[in-house]
Amino acid sequence: MSLSAPLFPNELAEPILWHPVIFAYALVISGADLIILASLAYISRRMMKAIPLLLVLGVSFFSAALLGPLADLRQPSRASLIYSLAHLFPTATNPGFSFIALYANLWLLLLILSIAFLLIYQSYPMHLKSLEGGRLKSLYKVFSLGVSDGERYRRLASLITVIAILTIIPAVLWGVYPSVLLVFQTWIFLWRSWVILPVIFFADTFVASTAAALLVYFIIKLGKLDQEVVSPLLKIHSAGCVSVTGLLGVQLLLWNQWFEESALYPAFNVVVPIIYFVIATLLLSFLLALASLKVPRLSIIVSIVALVGVVMNKWNTLVNGQLISRTGMGLFDLHLPTDWLLTTISPIAAAILIFVILSSLFPLEVKEVGK
């Protein structure tokens, strides 16, 4: 018997159901990892100089995270129903729970915690900034939260530590989103067979977040980099690159093992060549990061190379993944909506705008921390 209809007709109507904006969304999520890095740095009292940058960049990116899925909704005016009718607990009529509802609620929790972290952490530096005067003096005073002396600020250290610890759990959970949704609550052939995708996403967002931090730091410092800030970021970045390349290699081996004899194997050709490209790019970024430990100015190339790899990886997973039919037997052509580029760039542009505003308010270098 030969097969003449391997695709489902409803798939043909709109193969790329989740538009490329979901890919921008996955990049902005790296804000959660920046918050993790800031929290770990504060708790461990390491990388203290990098905390203000990580925190401001993390909050900026993370606050724009839900703009991606919002742009992808067919009924965006009903988005608030995710909170008011959240499907978080199983009932007879609605068994299971929704990852989308869970993560929307976690987003709110993490956003509140990270803003609290940022405000309390920056309270005394904002007081010092208000003493310098200027047109925004009264605004800086408001952001100082009434903390006007070093002694009072030191007493807040334990509260900041508690908040930092509390942010880690939702931030780690956000670090693996939306991969858990793709693997466990969809029936797209590629995603269902990509079993280690959540681990890859977690490592990948560290690569994206450190690359973004290195890039922003290079731009704001105009190349005059502080080794104390750059070195730890490069080390984390290197570890992330090695992890992602290793995990991608493992996944390729697994697919080979499971599907080599199967008629479904040709479908993987849509993603496999780009995975090789991503592995090569991230390995290059890793090698450059090692060199950059000696020559910090190379960090800008490290971050650009890594961001190219990360962008390709996300596009490959999220957009190309949808090109394989649910049956695994057919492939679709890539047809994107006419405004896809603008829609995709918008959440990233919004994140950058928020960063510009926040970085003009909060200092990105805090001398008094820990003293």
Binding site: L3, N10, Q75, L81, I82, L85, A92, F97, Q185
Partner: protein
């Protein structure tokens, strides 16, 4: 009310209250459909009837008919649609509970609270759901629940000229579908997905189970 009357009422009512719920209430329905592939000759009357009854936009389908060619040249037609699964994977990811499973087993969508996120569409292993381009919400077969409420059969069942589709209540042991499902060898799509579909097939070709 006097105390004597109250006691009398209590003793009269007690046996009724102690009866098992199943005998006191009418038995719950469990709707299902059986499709006999050997009877289908691909006339698409079901597809047309469904589209007309439910105002389905052009290019998307609540039911469709797949065509397979045997090595001997004979053609097999396999009608497909939402399987109204007992364990529906589409209900779980719905963030607002707009997709739900009714007591009679029908898996339905509340258009009023669907936000159009597409999670249920991505979660259906059968490709039975689609974004309705007119309404901006998820859409799929409802077993024509508006017709069932009026004692009618789903439009596709009524339109089928060869009675390839049989619809009924699995909990009614006297119904035709119950008898066939109990007595003959029937198949469901994608058993390995553990969705427990309620669309049963007779003579389903293996290739159609993708």
């Amino acid at each position: 009310m006097r105390r004597r009357d109250l006691l009398k009422l209590t003793f009269t009512a007690a046996p009724i209250l102690l009866l098992p719920a199943s005998s006191a209430l009418p038995q719950r329905k469990r709707y299902a459909m059986l499709i006999d592939v050997e009877r289908c000759y691909g006339c698409m009357a079901c597809v047309a009837a469904c589209a007309a009854e439910n105002n389905v936009p052009i290019g998307v389908f609540r039911t469709w008919v797949e065509r397979y060619v045997r090595k001997d040249g004979n053609v097999v037609f396999v009608p497909k649609q939402c399987n109204h699964c007992e364990n529906p994977p589409c209900v779980k990811p719905c963030p607002t509970g707009a997709t739900f499973k009714r007591e009679d087993g029908l898996v339905l969508i509340n258009d009023e609270i669907c936000i159009g996120c597409g999670a249920c569409i991505q979660a259906c292993p059968y490709g039975a759901r689609f974004p309705n381009p007119v309404k901006g919400v998820a859409d799929k077969c409802t077993f024509c629940e508006h017709r069932l409420a009026n004692g009618l059969l789903p439009a596709c069942v009524e339109a089928c000229p060869t009675t390839a589709r049989i619809f009924g209540d699995l909990n009614d042991s006297e119904s035709e579908i119950s008898k066939i499902v109990e007595s003959s060898n029937v198949q469901v799509l994608k058993v390995w997905a553990h969705t427990e579909p309620k669309i049963y097939y007779k003579s389903l070709p293996t290739e159609a189970d993708l």
